[in-house]
């Protein structure tokens, strides 16, 4: 049924958008591709799993996992990226390599600390499925869609209605001039990491709940799919990222729903990316239409 598939597509797309948002926020300010954002997704999933295991409270799991992961992001920026980027005439490949290293490290740390096997992520919602007319909805889907909508609303409010958000947008557009008018651009960077890594952590928990399991390799597919989403979204545009994430989620869902599986599902993001870049190289949403 079409409606069922649309709902499914929105749900998958929400997770994609949430995963990629951090990379977008970070690219927007620092102009680096932060693959380690997919590491935040893994770390967040594990923190959330642990907190839920100990407390049985999903709200606490989301809240603390997002906070811890966001703070780790700030520290990573402070002690790894900031020193690298402060070197004169640094090649963009250098922070990229650092971020790949960080990403690999996250997976390996998860393997070392929590063990290489799969961890069950059994969250009890009380009911298994909800039937609305012909629509079958799993409670986790509602959680994912509602929570993502909530987080993106918060992001929109922060970026558009607060002084820090104004500083973020100014810095994203012209970091030098932002500094020259008195903005401590480090605070805009910290905002990118807190929100970005926090969102990735939430996405990690959502995926754990959705598939009832997490493994240290959880971040591998998102690490590259995320890239295609942020490029599609016009590199650095939060709104573009939401649209691109939903778009990829929807296309993937439709293809597998209608048995067009001659294309492997995970390759869809890249086929779409190549097509869009051939037709509109600035991405689906160009930077000038930013937010």
């Amino acid at each position: 049924m079409l409606l069922q598939q649309i709902l499914n597509g929105i749900m998958i797309g929400s997770v994609y958008a949430l995963t990629a948002m951090g990379a977008t926020l970070i690219y927007g300010i620092l102009r680096i591709l932060d693959i380690a954002n997919a590491g935040a997704y893994v770390a967040g999933a594990y923190f959330g799993w642990f907190i839920y295991l100990k407390t049985g409270n999903l709200v606490l799991a989301f809240l603390f996992s997002m906070m811890i992961t966001g703070l780790i992001g700030v520290l990573i920026h402070r002690f790894i990226y900031a020193p690298i980027l402060s070197k004169p005439r640094i090649l963009p490949i250098v922070p990229l390599v650092a971020s790949v290293g960080l990403f690999t490290l996250t997976g390996d740390l998860a393997r070392l600390i929590a063990g290489p096997g799969t961890k069950a992520y059994n969250v009890d919602f009380g009911v298994d499925v909800i039937n609305i007319g012909k629509l079958t909805v799993v409670p986790a889907w509602i959680l994912i869609i509602v929570l993502t909508a909530l987080l993106f609303t918060v992001l929109w409010l922060v970026l558009n209605k607060t002084k820090l958000g104004l500083a973020w947008r100014a810095t994203a557009e012209d970091a030098d001039i932002a500094k020259a008018v008195g903005i401590n651009t480090n605070s805009a960077m910290a905002l990118s990491y807190i929100l970005g890594y926090g969102f990735a952590a939430a996405a990690g928990i959502m995926v754990g709940i959705l598939y009832n399991s997490i493994t240290p390799a959880l971040g591998e597919v998102p690490s590259y799919k995320m890239l295609s989403i942020i490029v599609l979204g016009g590199l650095g545009s939060p709104v573009g990222t939401v649209i691109a994430g939903l778009f990829i989620g929807m296309v993937e869902t439709m293809l597998s729903a209608y048995n067009l599986t001659f294309i492997p599902k995970d390759s869809v993001a890249f086929i779409v990316l190549i097509l869009v870049l051939l037709i509109k190289p600035s991405g689906l949403i160009s930077k000038t239409n930013n937010i």
């Binding site: 500083a167 947008r169 557009e173 012209d174 001039i177 500094k179 020259a180 008018v181 008195g182 000038t288």
Partner: protein, 234 residues
């Protein structure tokens, strides 16, 4: 107010400023003129903290500022109107002005200062909800000046304010700069339009390929043969 001692700046191996010495006293309006590529923009960026110096010292009100990040210099009262305006195109006019107030915390003061800019440039108030990138070049220049003024700078650095503007706008901009200086703001302007710049200034420096080759009061500079030939078209 501003004192520069033996300043050396380079891009990689290329020396762009070679032992520059320059001073702008409190209340003065000083222009730095010179041909394309002389290093004028580099000089301003180094004062603002957007370009690192290789050697030398820069003092603002007696305080050595090299190594200080640009936003601290802005907080100290250094305002900057960059070459090519560089307004935040995806922000509205009003948002651009609010960004300019970033280092102020008093909401009432912020509103007052924005209002003052609107009084100076009524056009900006008419267009306050408009995205800056959709404004004309002249309007963007007003906005770039306004954005620097809202934080009540004591020293204003202005790079090539006349570039790409029609003559009536050029005159307006220079008149406003003169008025601001009369109201007590110390100003340093960097210009290719030497004629107009010298008209409103007290003193001038001539910068050529990274060296200050002349320094004098504007009366003397305007009567200097070399300056007349090279910069004043006479």
């Amino acid at each position: 107010m501003l004192k520069i001692v033996d300043l050396e700046v380079a891009y990689g191996q290329m020396e762009v400023l070679k032992k520059i010495n320059l001073e702008v006293k409190k209340g003065e309006l000083v222009s730095v003129i010179g041909p394309n590529g002389a290093g004028k923009t580099t000089l301003i960026k180094t004062i603002m903290g957007l370009k690192d110096a290789k050697a030398g010292q820069i003092f603002i009100e007696g305080k050595e500022i090299l190594g200080m990040p640009a936003w601290k210099r802005a907080e100290m009262g250094v305002g900057y109107v960059p070459e090519g305006r560089r307004v935040f195109g995806n922000l509205t006019v009003e948002e651009n002005l609010r960004v300019g107030c970033y280092s102020l915390n008093d909401t009432k003061k912020i509103q007052q200062n924005i209002k003052k800019v609107y009084e100076l440039f009524p056009r900006l108030e008419e267009r306050k909800k408009q995205l800056a990138r959709t404004m004309s070049g002249g309007e963007q220049q007003m906005l770039a000046i306004g954005r620097a003024l809202v934080m009540e700078p004591r020293l204003l650095l202005i790079d090539e304010v006349s570039m790409g503007l029609m003559p009536i706008m050029v005159n307006l901009c220079f008149k406003i700069i003169k008025d601001l200086n009369d109201q007590g703001i110390t100003v340093m302007i960097v210009e290719q339009n030497a004629n107009k710049a010298l008209k409103i200034s007290h003193r001038g420096y001539v910068l050529e390929t990274g060296n200050i080759v002349l320094e004098d009061t504007v009366e003397k500079l305007r009567n200097n043969d070399v300056v007349q030939k090279a910069y004043l078209g006479g």
